[in-house]
Amino acid sequence: MVLTSFAASAILQSADRLISLAPADVLVIVIYFAMVLGIGVYLKRYANTSNQFFMAGREMSAWVAGLSFLSANLGALELMGWAAATYQYGILAAHFYWIAAFPSLACLGLVMMPLYYISKTHSVPGYLHLRYGEATRALSGISFAFMTILMSGINMYAMAIVMKVVLGWNIHFSIWVSSLTVAAYVTLGGLYSAIFNEVLQFFLIWVGVLTVSILGMIEAGGWSGLVMKIHERVHNDEYVHLWSTLGTFSGNPMGVHWTGMALGLGGVIAFGYWSTDFLVIQRAMAAKDLRSARLAPIIAAYFKMMVPLIVILPGLLGLALLPYKLVPEGTPGEGLHTYNEVLPLMLARYCGPGLLGLGITALIAGFMSGMAGNLSAFATVWTYDIYRPYLTKVKSDAELVAIGRWCTILGVFLSIGAAYFVTQFKSIMDYMQALVSFFIAPLCATVIVGMFWKRATAKAGFWGLLAGTVSSIAMFTLVKVNHSYLAVIALSPDAKEMAENLYRALWSWLICFMVTVIVSLFTAPKPDYELKGLVWGLTDLPSEAGVPLYKRPLFWAVGVGIFFVILQWMFW
């Protein structure tokens, strides 16, 4: 069936495309599809109980959980989007891999993961249920399910667009083939399938895209040659420095001040995303023991900080070496290429038959893995936090698994619907960052206050989360209605859209935090014995006295910190 589908794709290809595939490239893609479906069929026999289907039996090693944790975030949208952002903003885009990785992932591994893991909950809304109560769980569960489906649809639509632009494939063909393949393997193997394919995708992305970085650096004449060529192209040094241009809003191409980068991105968006987005947390919660669960985000941090080699570097190489200038999306003109095409263009520049197929397969794997991650997280939250508590009583474990499988299929069709919805409003693609600030930034404050302050009450959790979410949506709407408010929200008339995203996240976090604290002071807290295993200070953590130093999460977290400091110093 897959072979037939791809034979059909050859017919569906149009002349208007960036890249032409040789038979070897098509064979590489077909083998990938056969492999992921084969893995799904193989894993079905191991996904019979709810613990196996939703939590992969909680038996993943630290390495598998860590790589899967990272891969769930390393979708093709991320790869192509940040390569494009690098072409547009220069090395500043690397902040999204460095300051957005180290502090938050180390904190998650060392401080927050023990509470998630020890509470034995199935999801982040599940943790909020235990910590705050029903109302907060319902609000976060519903907003997470909504966000996940929309993200999955956007991912699907983006893949279809990329396949159309790069390979000339029909949009409907790409949406249906990719979504049905993902539906098949997640429905069969549950979180096992999602995790296996995410680890597979991690390897494919590296071997598929690293060719561009290696050959590009040879062509550019090393780092110094690359910097010189960029300087010749843009006539300033702003594109190759991380921090030295962030003293003012107008001194860098992104229009961001260092406070926005450090507090908004490193402090709120990154903390919010990594420590409360169930899509990634679910992978660490599937680890076989607490030490592995704590190590998973720290292992992910090392690799996250190396991802710029295959994302940021190709973007910089594109800026330095491509013989024509790329333009923003929607720029009128014949034969112009957009920023978003920089990665496929670089693949086409260096990769011949076979290698090109591998690079395209890496992008397809990234898209499908992103969808699978969203679907497995959606199925878990929908089943445990919406369906079971509010819709019907579940009688047996087998019934729970069956509901999980049906939820996966439901999620696929909702995502397909979302993908077609997105095609009607193309600017929604630009709103992905906004979506994070609506739901993730306030959720971060709710979780952090709940984990570290035993006085936080059930009512405070709900009203804080609601206030943060509503205020974020209100700020976004305000700027859409009257663009001059951007200067108010981002604190400068020179601020650009990226700065607005960062500061909006920061304000919504603060609003949620303050409302939670104020309401807590006027309402009754839960007794200490109900908060055992949920709040830092009331939870007994297993001692690491007998564990060798090199096996301790703290040891590896310090290593990530040193790696982070060296990178900042090198590219200051």
């Binding site: 070897a24 090693s61 597979l200």
Partner: protein, 73 residues
């Protein structure tokens, strides 16, 4: 991954996939060796080196995680 169910480790699947890709890319590189494709720096034969690298990594993973070879991971 699981001791109870003897599930094949994910590393085995990765090994098989990378080895298969290595075979395809290596064969294409040999066939096209005298007439490399018209991409930049094709004179360095990146497909040949890439193919060999994938064969080595894939072969190593496949061999190391072959079913039954390692009872415990």
């Amino acid at each position: 991954m699981s001791k109870q169910t003897h599930m094949l480790p994910v590393w085995f699947f990765i090994g098989v996939l990378l080895f298969t890709y290595g075979v395809i890319i290596f064969v294409v590189a040999i066939v096209d060796f005298r007439h490399p494709s018209e991409v930049m720096l094709s004179q360095y034969h990146p497909d040949l080196f890439g193919g060999i690298l994938l064969l080595l990594i894939g072969g190593l993973y496949t061999f190391w995680f072959w079913p039954g070879r390692r009872k415990k991971q």
